[in-house]
Symmetry: C2
Subunit: 333 residues, 2 copies
Amino acid sequence: MAKRPTSQNVADMAGVSKWTVIRAFTPGASITEESRAKVMAAAGQLNYRPNLLARSLATNLTHQVAILVDDFENPHKLPVLERLTLELQAEGLVPMLVNINERFGHVHALLNAGQRQVDAVILFGTAFRNETLQDARLEGAAPMFVLARDSQIPGVPAISCDATIAIEELCAHLREQGYRRPGFMAGPQTLSTALGRRRSFKTFWVRHGVEHVPELPAKSYSMTSGAEAVRHYLQETSAGDRIDVLMCENDALALGALDVLRSEFGLRVPQDIAVAGFDNIMFADAPAYDLTTYEQPIEDMVKTTIDMILGRRERQTVQLRGRLVVRGSTKRT
Amino acid sequence: MAKRPTSQNVADMAGVSKWTVIRAFTPGASITEESRAKVMAAAGQLNYRPNLLARSLATNLTHQVAILVDDFENPHKLPVLERLTLELQAEGLVPMLVNINERFGHVHALLNAGQRQVDAVILFGTAFRNETLQDARLEGAAPMFVLARDSQIPGVPAISCDATIAIEELCAHLREQGYRRPGFMAGPQTLSTALGRRRSFKTFWVRHGVEHVPELPAKSYSMTSGAEAVRHYLQETSAGDRIDVLMCENDALALGALDVLRSEFGLRVPQDIAVAGFDNIMFADAPAYDLTTYEQPIEDMVKTTIDMILGRRERQTVQLRGRLVVRGSTKRT
DNA sequence: TCCACGCTTGCTACCGGTAGCAAATATGGT
DNA sequence: ACCATATTTGCTACCGGTAGCAAGCGTGGA
C-alpha cells in the first residue's frame, strides 16, 4: 500500500516549504490566497490530509474521549451510546469504546487510555469501587466523568438522573393508583456506588406509613436476573403476604420480572400486581410489556458531560431531571 | 495538571540514557537485569508509562480500529459490539466507535479515521452505496472490512452469516410445520447491498411450488417499521388471502409485527399466523415473544474479521454458518 | 529615494517515541 | 594475559506535525 503523502510531499509539488502547506490547512493562518491555491491544488492531486497523530503529539491534545462500558446486556446502553457518539463527533471528538470486564478492569483501561493520551474518560454506568479510581497509578491521568451513575469520589464529577425526584414522582403515581404494598428489586449491592433509587424508594413509603418494604435482590442488571429474582420471591412468599407493586431498579429487570409474573405464575399485570422500571428502553413501549418507567434525560446528560469535558461548564456533580412515563403496567383503573 | 513524565525524566532519575529506559519497556530488548531494575524503580516512582501516540507516529501503527455503525435502533448491535470490543482488546487493539448518520457520512468518517491513522475500519452492518466506498479521496486509506452484511466491492472483504443456508434451514422448518402461504417483510431496498435473505426466501418457496410470495416493505429496520408494515398489509388484505407465516428480515421487525398481530388484530401466533425473524436478539427469547429466529455466528464472525485485520487469514469475503433457533412462534403442533 | 511597518514565508527546536549503527563493556577461549 | 566475540549502551536520524522567531518582500509615507 502506498504511503500517505506528507506536508513535505505537497510542498515539493507546489514549490513551497512544508510550513506553508501546513498554513494552508490551518484556519486563520497567515498565507496569501495565491499560495493557498497552489497548495490546495497539489494537496488535491496527492490526496493529502494532515496526520492527526503527529498533530496530537505536538499539541498534547488528541480530541479522543474514552467511553468505559461494562454492561452490554442492558439495552439502555444503546441509545445513550448513540447520543454520546453523535454529540462527541459534533464537537470534533472521537469516541473510544472500552469494554470493561474481568479480564480488562478499570485500572487497566484507564492506564491504557492514559497512554493513548485521551483528553477525557467517561465512565458510562460502570460498576467500580471508589478505591479503584483512587489507585496511585492513575495520578495525573485524563480527567474522568461518571455518566448515569453516582460518584462519591472528589474530583470525579458525576452526571446522572436525579433519583430522588424520579422515585418521588413514580411512587406518587403508584400511591395514587391505590398500591400500598410496595416491593423493590435491587441490582447487585456489592458496590458502594449503588444507585440511590432504593434508598429514595424506601424513604417515600416509610414517610407514607409503610414500614416494611420487601427487597428482591437480583444478581445482575439483566432480564434473566430479574426473572430469577421474582421467581424466587414468589416461591418463598404466600399469596396473602404478597406485594401489590414491584419497582425495579431498571427496565431490564422489570421486563424479566413481568415475563415470569405472567407466564410462570399466571398473574395479571396490573390487576394482581403492578410493575414499574427505570430507563424507558425501547421494549418498555411494546404492547407486550407496556411498562411504566422513568426516562433519563439522555440528551441533557450527554450535553452536560461534553460541556464539562470541553471546559464550558464547571466540572461538578449534577443531577438532572427526567420524565415519568406512565403506561399500562401500573394503571389499575 | 502535572505533565506526564517521559522516558527522559526516568532516564535522568535512573542515571541512564532514555534509550535504556525504552528498552526496559520493550519486551525482548537487549538490557541487563540490573539496568532494567534501576529503570523500573525510577519509572515506578514517577509513574511513567510509554506514550503510545509517539510510538504510533514512529511505527506507523496505531493499533486502533474504527467501527462504523449507523443503526443504533437495532438491539442486535449491542451483543456484537460487546464481542467485537472484547476480542479487539484481547489483541491489543482499541476500538474507535463512529456513529454514521446524515450529518456524518461514510466518506467523512473514513477520511477522519484515515487522518487518525487507524489500522483498519470495520463497517458494521452499515448501509452504504458501493460508489461511496470507491470515492477517489479514499485511495490509500485504511483497509476496510464489512461485518454482518454483503459487499460487492472488490478489495473490501465481507464477513457475514450465510443467508442462503440460513433461509433454507428456516424455511425447511416452516414447511415441515405445515405452513404454505409465506410472506416476507423486507427492510429498505434502496441500497444495492440489500441482504440476500429475501432472494433466498423466494427461491425456496418457488422451488416448492409457491409462486406468489407477498412482500411487506418496511421503512427501516426497527420495531415501529415492522409494526407499520404488518398493519398496512392486514388492512389491505382480506382474511382469506392472508399469509400463514411471516418471515421478517430481522428480529426488530418481527417483534414489532408480532405486537401488532396480537394486540391490534387479535390474531394468535402461531395458530393463525407464524412469525420468524433473524438475529436472535435478547427479547426473542422472552416468553412474551418466544420468536423463532436464526442466530448469526457472532463470535466466529468477529474472530474471522480480526484474523483478517491482523493478517492471520486471507482477506476475502466469507459466509459463516449460523444456527436455527426454533421457538413457539412457528410451532403449530 | 529611503526607511518603517506589516504581511508572508522559511527556519530552528521540539513533541516522545523507534530503528539501526557505533562505541563501550562484558564474557570466554587459549 | 590477551584477543575475539557477544552483549549492552548511547547515539544520530527520523516519524509528521506545532510554536514562535527571524528573514524576505511589498507597500506607503516622508
